[in-house]
């Protein structure tokens, strides 16, 4: 696959057409029908949580949030391949991959709702928190890969970043270190074609992102990021490559962020309605649904039911989330070091004294 779709050729791996037809049987992934259905459900679930979170934000029940609407195949098609022992090293736009690992909507809301507890992930292992400084997580992934390899632990590191992220020096250092170390890392670029307002052409002069793999002597492949099968298939091949001891792989999943960069962003400033329309047609969930329905594995009716079920579940969970215990002064201090230094103890005490004074005056 990596030869056939060598990035110098400029050909993108696509398996499922926007109409939901398999157009490339040769590279169909090995995946059971049951799993495909699971993945589809996860895509729908992710979208439900995403859209609801945007609406909670609009209602003032959530701070600024970064939606992922439209990128479900890209993150779930790749992330669904993760096993228990694997590692997820995300950026901030991989909610579907988070869910696959056991992160809950409550975790997500805690984070975007402004609470550090949203990075605790009590139900997920080997899952890093959201990484805000663009591309920095890519090097962490290389280090985790080294750690796994050195300690002969099973597991592959899945790390995510955007098209914009490829411009940072950290992208370069991360891929270089991992390639020199032959570390078990799959580098996944969710190329949604924009870094906030900046289009890919102004971000880089390379013909595609996959080709950047050549700088590190690793395979690279561009896949249709709205095609669940293409994403899954390339990831599967990448994992095989790694298991054969051949080192890391770069996957570029070409997709589109259908929503805003964050709820504070206004995409109409930098892209057209026409363009948005084109990508609506290529929607990843619609596409996989067409396939499933055509295969008689799913029906519109199932879909309506599922969506409704998820909406209710999510709604209920959100109400629960909103009862989360309030933030305490101690939460500011207690986790910075393993043992709180005297300076911090004192700063906290000073603050408490002030609170007492304030109390005494009111």
């Amino acid at each position: 696959m990596f030869t056939k779709y060598h990035p110098t050729k400029g050909e993108m791996l696509q398996i499922l057409s926007p109409e939901g037809k398999i157009i490339n049987t040769k590279f169909q992934p090995e995946i059971s029908t049951e799993k495909v259905l699971q993945a589809y459900k996860l895509m729908v679930y992710t979208r439900t949580v995403d859209l609801k979170t945007v609406s909670y934000q609009r209602q003032g029940r959530m701070y600024t949030y970064a939606p992922n609407f439209g990128q479900e195949a890209s993150m779930i098609g790749t992330g669904f391949h993760m096993n228990q022992e694997d590692w997820l090293v995300p950026s901030y736009r991989e909610m579907g991959a988070f869910f696959h690992r056991g992160v809950t909507p409550t975790d997500i809301w805690l984070y975007w709702g402004g609470h550090e507890d949203g990075a605790k992930f009590p139900k997920a292992t080997n899952t890093l928190p959201i990484s805000v400084p663009i591309a920095s997580q890519i090097i962490h992934a290389a280090g985790i890969g080294y750690g796994l390899k050195l300690q002969k632990q099973k597991g592959i590191v899945y790390t995510y970043f955007g098209d914009g992220g490829t411009s940072e020096g950290d992208f370069h250092a991360g891929l270089n270190f991992a390639s020199v170390w032959k570390a078990p890392v799959i580098f996944i670029c969710q190329n949604n074609q924009y870094a906030i307002s900046l289009r890919q052409e102004k971000q880089m002069a390379s013909s595609n992102i996959a080709i950047k793999s050549l700088a590190y002597g690793m395979p690279g492949i561009q896949v249709d990021g709205n095609d669940f099968f293409a994403c899954y298939s390339a990831t599967q091949k990448a994992a095989q490559h790694i298991e054969e001891g051949k080192g890391p792989v770069l996957i570029e999943a070409l997709t589109y962020r259908r929503g805003a960069h964050t709820t504070a962003d206004d995409p109409s400033r930098y892209r057209s309605k026409e363009e948005e329309k084109i990508w609506e047609e290529k929607d990843p969930i619609l596409r996989l649904k067409r396939y499933l329905v055509a295969q008689k594995l799913w029906s519109e009716e199932d879909d309506t039911k599922l969506t409704q079920q998820y909406e209710e579940e999510v709604e209920a969970e959100f109400l629960e989330y909103e009862k989360y215990p309030p933030y305490e002064l101690n939460d500011v201090f207690q986790y910075l070091y393993n043992t709180m230094p005297d300076d911090l103890v004192k700063q906290k005490q000073e603050y408490e004294k002030y609170l007492a004074w304030k109390e005494s005056r009111s």
């Binding site: 701070y63 600024t64 984070y111 975007w112 709702g113 402004g114 609470h115 550090e116 949203g118 959201i130 805000v132 400084p133 663009i134 591309a135 914009g164 992220g165 411009s167 940072e168 020096g169 950290d170 870094a195 906030i196 307002s197 900046l198 102004k202 971000q203 880089m204 504070a264 962003d265 400033r269 930098y270 309030p326 933030y327 002064l329 939460d331 500011v332 201090f333 910075l336 300076d343 911090l344 700063q347 906290k348 603050y351 002030y354 004074w357 304030k358």
Partner: protein, 325 residues
């Protein structure tokens, strides 16, 4: 004169300098077409062209490193870092080159650049969007650090910064971007870099602050007055070089110093101000010169951020302690 908020007054300063001097450029991530995530550079690209007002690829090292090169060709880049929390990939270029090239080449190349960045907290943002780390620049030889607290000052200081041949770190208190409006001249005017401003005269205690904390400090001064304490309030405006003279004279007069700063306490600007008090006014001190600084912790996420940022009443509390000392 127009009533402007700080976003508008900074935009006006950039507009004027772009208009007046073809050597001036303005660029950064999303700073061109989109006009910046805070809209500070809105309309500037339309007006001054894509070659002089532009978006860069996503690399802070690229932004500042290339600004160093641009200066060598005689340009005067004004580079925007989207949030001060993302300046660190560029830190090497700031500290190793922007701050040093003039000295290194014995004056051959001026680093005539301004590095603008919104800093500080209080806008309920996610991690890395709320820090106040001016010390990391003020401690570095070769830089100047400017922080305005009002729309008026923001404009005058930015114009001076752009005209400065030395590299300027210009930090914008994002919390104040739209917090108040003020009459600001439409045309060009300047405020000297390195000059503090006595915002209010007083006799009991000198309160020194800058940036977003000035707003709280002003309120605190009013509260203090009600309590019968006369505060002399100084807005530093430039952090480095510090206007020692103005601050020292005030401390010698009042005998007391409270510095109010937002960022971490340890070795922060507050400790420099306390040192100043000792160096220049030791024999006049009637109470320990004191700093009120941020906790030496990470700025909490929005749910906890109210614990971190000083309020007017916290300042009052400290003032009272010192006056009663």
């Amino acid at each position: 004169m127009t009533l402007m908020n700080m976003v508008q007054s900074i935009n006006s300063a950039l507009d004027i300098k772009l208009e007046e001097d073809p050597k001036v450029l303005s660029f950064g991530e999303d700073a061109g077409l989109e006009g910046g995530v805070f809209r500070v550079t809105e309309n500037l690209q339309k007006k001054h062209g894509e070659e002089r007002v532009f978006d860069t690829p996503l690399s802070e090292a690229g932004i500042i490193g290339s600004a160093v090169g641009m200066c060598m060709t005689g340009l005067r880049p004004v580079a925007e870092i989207q949030f001060s929390g993302f300046v660190y990939p560029a830190y090497d270029h700031i500290i190793s080159h922007a701050a040093r090239m003039h000295n290194r080449t014995r004056g051959r190349y001026d680093m005539s650049m301004v590095i603008r960045m919104p800093y500080g907290g209080g806008i309920k943002a996610i991690e890395h969007h709320s820090e106040s780390m001016e010390t990391l620049f003020a401690h570095v030889p070769g830089l100047k650090v400017v922080i305005p607290s009002t729309p008026y000052d923001a404009k005058g200081l930015l114009i001076s910064s752009i005209e400065s041949d030395d590299p300027i770190i210009y930090m914008e208190p994002k919390r104040l971007y739209r917090a108040m409006k003020q009459e600001v001249p439409d045309g060009k005017f300047q405020i000297d870099i390195g000059k503090a401003k006595i915002v209010q005269e007083g006799s009991d205690i000198t309160v020194v602050s800058y940036g977003a904390m000035m707003k709280e400090a002003r309120e605190a001064a009013i509260l203090a007055q009600k309590e019968g304490y006369s505060v002399e309030l100084i807005d530093l405006r430039t952090i480095y070089p510090l206007d020692r003279k103005t601050v020292a004279e005030s401390i010698r007069k009042t005998g007391r110093l409270l510095s109010v700063t937002e960022g971490p306490s340890f070795s922060g600007i507050g400790s420099e101000l306390v040192t100043l008090a000792n160096e220049e006014a030791f024999l006049s001190l009637e109470a320990p010169p004191t700093r009120l600084a941020g906790f030496d912790t990470i700025v909490p996420l929005p749910k906890g951020e109210h614990f971190y940022f000083h309020t007017a009443d916290r300042i009052l509390y400290e003032v009272e302690k010192l006056v009663k000392y």
